[in-house]
């Protein structure tokens, strides 16, 4: 079955009803090309969002609060912004700040806990950061916090960046380790360790609208059918138990 790009786009934006969603996911498992096209849409959406999210963490300029007739807003005190009593001073300060510090006036404050948008959601991590996925010639690979989580987190354990949750770990028919994950409660996927990378053969959007999902509302282990089917196709034997999982992690996910 073929799908137009508009349908795949609508799928990745969470716009399809349950039936169409299931049809797209069935197609994703049957056709790696469709899975790749969906991944591309999800990746682009994540990238665009992460490009503008830093704006949310900038201090809101005083003049905007004044425009609301609310000069004594406690939020401005909390954010540590100066509250000049004089509009002219505020304007001058704003001019001075805008020279050379274009979009990142608060960056030093933010640096300690960089917040980036991920797969149409949000992922909090510290230190060096990258986007969570990258494309190469043969598909999609995990990067940044997702790569770290796949390499170093145990199932169910919420480590530093709780935005990535690891589900099941298993050995695939080709002998590679594979792990399911959920990003930001919005996108689920499967990562398989191949050639030193976590390759992502499938990613699917979890069926919630962008507005309706609370941060951790979703039950653990709830995976979209496309991901479940990808697991079923690949799994050799059974899922690893906690001890086997820890041992595989210790060995750096080397093939048996």
């Amino acid at each position: 079955m073929t799908f137009s790009d508009e349908i795949l786009m609508a799928y990745s934006d969470g716009e399809l009803d349950a039936q169409s969603r299931a049809a797209v996911e069935a197609a994703m498992t049957a056709d790696p090309d469709i899975a790749r096209r969906v991944a591309r849409h999800l990746a682009l959406a994540a990238r665009v969002r992460s490009g503008f999210d830093p704006v949310l963490r900038e201090a809101v300029p005083h003049r905007l609060k004044e425009a609301l007739g609310d000069a004594s807003d406690p939020a401005s005190a909390r954010a540590g912004t100066a509250a000049p009593g004089d509009i002219a001073i505020a304007r001058a300060a704003k001019r001075a700040r805008s020279k050379g510090v274009w979009a990142w006036p608060q960056w030093s404050v933010v640096a300690a806990s960089l917040v980036i948008g991920v797969m149409a959601g949000r992922l909090i991590e510290s230190g060096q950061s990258q986007l969570p996925i990258a494309m190469d010639g043969s598909g999609v690979v995990a990067r940044g916090a997702l790569e770290r989580a796949l390499s170093t987190h145990l199932a169910g354990r919420l480590a530093g960046d709780a935005a990535v949750r690891i589900g099941t770990t298993f050995v695939s028919k080709s002998g590679d380790y594979c792990r399911t994950f959920v990003l930001s409660n919005e996108v689920a996927g499967l990562g398989c360790r191949t050639g030193g990378d976590w390759r992502l053969p499938v990613m699917a959007r979890l069926p919630t609208g962008p507005e309706s999902s609370g941060p951790y509302r979703r039950a653990a282990g709830e995976m979209p059918p496309a991901v479940m089917r990808a697991v079923e196709e690949r799994i050799a034997g059974h899922a690893l138990d906690a001890r086997e999982e820890a041992a595989a992690l210790q060995k750096g996910w080397q093939k048996e």
């Binding site: 716009e15 665009v48 969002r49 490009g51 503008f52 963490r57 809101v60 939020a75 979009a103 950061s129």
Partner: protein, 171 residues
């Protein structure tokens, strides 16, 4: 009545970070974005009675911003004044992390798209509005919205992939 207005004021105050972000997606620089937010907030307060209880306050203000921006670009075109490119040289020097550079690339790529595609992408991909809500905010049919969204995405993908290919060659 006073109470209701106070309520709306408080809600708008809570929306300010998102209004600024939306401003950044539709204008091409930070200063314009904040000017636009300020203008929209002032207009919204003046016309509070036009907002319908039970509808989304954010969408309503987004649509005020959209209209204000279209007016602004028209009058700028008349005066043939260009603001956007002025600060560009200064932005590069203050980027340090990979994160910042990546965000900058996205913002620059967006800046190359026409207004109508930026509006669609800003509302759907950045602000997370449903297609229907975004179409209503922009006062366009849903099919128009999705085709602008699709074209905008395609263009962004092309610009960003070209950028990646270039940086690969460099390293």
């Amino acid at each position: 009545m006073d109470n209701a207005i106070e309520n709306i004021r408080a809600n708008i105050a809570g929306l300010l970070p998102r209004l600024r972000r939306f401003g950044r997606t539709i204008t091409r620089n930070a200063e314009d974005a904040d000017d636009l937010v300020q203008m929209a907030v002032e207009r919204a307060l003046k016309r509070v009675d036009q907002w319908q209880q039970g509808t989304r306050l954010d969408s309503w203000i987004f649509s005020i911003m959209k209209n204000a921006w279209i007016d602004e670009t028209r009058s700028r075109a008349r005066r043939s004044r260009l603001f956007a490119a002025e600060e560009e040289g200064e932005q590069i020097g203050v980027c340090h992390t990979e994160q910042q550079i990546s965000a900058m690339e996205v913002q620059k790529a967006m800046a190359q798209l026409p207004d109508e595609q930026r509006l669609a992408i800003g509302l759907v991909l950045v602000e997370g509005l449903a297609y229907k809500e975004a179409a209503e905010t922009l006062q366009i049919p849903i099919g128009t919205l999705t085709s602008r969204l699709a074209r905008g995405r395609e263009a962004l993908q092309a610009i960003l992939s070209a950028g990646e290919a270039r940086s690969k060659v460099r390293t």
